[in-house]
């Protein structure tokens, strides 16, 4: 069983910077980063008109289904998905086997440029996520996670959620 994903302020900022960079360099409309389980991690661009939670969940479903097909065919994974629409296109790539990078773009840019920039960003993002994992493991072994806000959760706190 994989451990919980914990996101710290410092790494979140690095991820955010990387997504902003990708957003600008690829000339994209929106860029998303989604956990393989369907949780939205970060985004860049104009997300106001998009239901980001649903998009994250459906993207993860899409990647999961494609992964299932891959295994049926004896492939480990299909790491890139591309959907072409009339106006907008979506480029989905799996990075570091855990995180999904989604780029939505239109005719102001090209698939080639998006692919190139995604590749560069993926390398940077893999490093950041490796850092997060090792940081979480380190904190766990040092017992620092005791400071987590959930260590002190009371039954009352939980009950209050359901009032």
């Amino acid at each position: 069983m994989s451990s919980d994903l914990v996101m710290y302020e410092e790494e979140f900022q690095k991820i955010d910077e990387e997504l902003q960079k990708l957003f600008q360099q690829a000339n994209a409309k929106v860029v998303f980063l989604v956990d393989k389980n369907g949780q939205l991690i970060a985004s860049a661009g104009d997300t106001h008109e998009i239901d980001t939670t649903s998009l994250a969940s459906l993207t993860a479903g899409n990647i999961a289904a494609t992964g299932g097909i891959a295994r049926l065919l004896g492939e480990k994974e299909f790491t890139i998905l591309f959907h072409e629409g009339e106006k907008d296109n979506i480029h989905i790539s799996l990075i570091g086997q855990r995180i999904i990078l989604v780029v939505i773009f239109d005719k102001r840019t090209s698939l080639g440029l998006v692919r190139l920039r995604v590749k560069k960003s993926s390398e940077a993002l893999v490093i950041i996520f490796n850092n997060i994992t090792s940081k979480a493991e380190k904190e766990k072994s040092e017992g620092k996670l005791d400071e987590s806000p959930f260590a002190e959760i009371s039954d009352e706190d939980i009950d209050n959620l359901f009032k």
């Binding site: 996101m7 369907g38 949780q39 239901d51 649903s54 289904a65 959930f150």
Partner: protein
């Protein structure tokens, strides 16, 4: 696998509704959707066939409130119940934090319940989970029908660990929130243990 985001001060947990075909998993989500404040919920997404059978999953994001300054969000999923969607069902369980088993109380569906529970156990094991260690709640649904099995018998067959179980009638909402609250509470208690 919950996702704790210190940057946006959010915590997201995943709950999966499991059970045999036509037992009422989607109906549970539809009722929760109907009865929740608009500011607490996102869209209810249903990937279903034309005859309203779930093809891949239903998805409903719920924001319950705050704990220690963290927004607590639950993502509710259902699996497709029909036997031949086994491959899809497996995928939905990825990263699950808690499971609701919706059992169909009709006597003639008992075998389907047992089969589905076994399927759940196997699919969880494939993802590295043990059903007996996961936050888990059973809902005995369709109690309003006439040909139902006694709850004690159903618990014996489907709930040997004796986890909390609720009688339900998802169409009218009976037991729906009780079930959800119970599993959500178990998930949070589990989270607390991990910290």
């Amino acid at each position: 696998m919950s996702f704790i985001n210190y940057a946006s001060r959010e915590i997201n947990c995943k709950i999966v509704y499991y059970g045999p075909g036509l037992c009422g998993k989607t109906t549970n989500l539809q009722y929760v959707y109907k009865k929740t404040n608009p500011d607490q919920k996102g869209k209810l997404i249903s990937l279903a066939t034309e005859t309203e059978r779930t093809l891949f999953f239903d998805f409903l994001p719920l924001a319950l409130g705050d704990i220690k300054g963290f927004k607590v969000r639950f993502h509710l999923y259902t699996v497709p119940g029909q036997v031949f969607y086994a491959a899809s069902r497996k995928l939905i369980l990825k990263g699950v934090d808690g499971v609701v088993f919706v059992a169909d109380s009709q006597i003639e569906r008992m075998e389907a319940n047992i089969e589905s529970l076994e399927d759940l156990r196997i699919n969880l094991a494939e993802q590295g989970y043990e059903l007996d260690k996961l936050p888990y709640t059973v809902q005995h649904n369709k109690r309003d029908l006439s040909n139902v099995a006694p709850v004690e018998n159903m618990n014996k067959l489907l709930n040997p660990r004796n986890v909390p179980s609720f009688e339900g009638c998802a169409v009218s909402g009976v037991g729906v929130f009780e079930t959800l609250k119970n599993v959500a509470k178990q998930v949070l208690v589990e989270l607390k243990k991990h910290c």
